[in-house]
């Protein structure tokens, strides 16, 4: 799993790639919590290159969403692959998150 963060000026883009599971979801959490600690006004998490995600990855994103919205920030998900979309659907979370087809569209209107 690889993760990189890009400053968008009005927020941050977090690009995740590879497999997100119990072994590395704490790394994703650390990245998100660093941004949240600084009250980043908008966080876009690009999952376009994630080929697998388990419930620990989903839990990390739910926590990120709740923490960001708690201070009035925006939290957007971009680029769900079919496999990861299935996991969101199993968790019945597709209506809970703001989900965009790709990062470019998710960055619009931040």
């Amino acid at each position: 799993m690889e993760i990189e963060t890009e400053d968008l000026g009005n927020g941050s883009l977090v690009r995740v790639s590879g497999e997100v599971d119990m072994s590395n979801s704490p790394t994703v959490r650390d990245s998100l919590m660093n941004l949240i600690a600084g009250k980043t006004p908008a966080i876009v998490v690009d999952l376009g290159r994630v080929i697998y995600m388990d419930s620990s990855g989903i839990a990390t994103l739910v926590e990120g969403l709740q923490e960001t919205t708690s201070y009035g920030g925006k939290f957007r998900i971009a680029g769900l692959t079919e496999k990861v979309k299935q996991v969101f659907e199993l968790a019945r979370l597709t209506d809970v998150f703001d989900i965009y087809p790709d990062a470019e569209q998710a960055k619009e209107g931040l």
Partner: protein, 140 residues
Amino acid sequence: MKRFQIEIPSDPACLKIIRSSVESLCGMAGMDENESCKIVLAVDEACTNIISHSYEGATDKPIICEGKIEGSTLFITLRDVGKKVDPSKIRSRDLDDVRPGGLGVHFIQEVMDRMEFKDCGEEGTCLFLEKIVSNSGEQD
């Protein structure tokens, strides 16, 4: 009949070995990629529960995974030697309560046709999972 048996340490970094084996078996059972991905997720969640609850995070304990296809059914058995599971306490949570965590059992129950815990001796638990294969036709 196609089968595998592997033993991994209870280290989360090793779960991809089980995921890969289960994915291969699903492919041999003729499952499409989406169905296969769900089975892999269910087995993975069961393994993470073993690590978190039966072994309380210890990374050097054994997890034994057996998989086989018999007829139109895929069978997965997971064995551990950790704290015994009380099946009456295994349940999924209310998904309307949106919060981090607690989704693993829901995923397993949603995906698999059977989930049954059994006592397997002095220590540990066996978890039996079954899935009827909707895409018939085993692959070589």
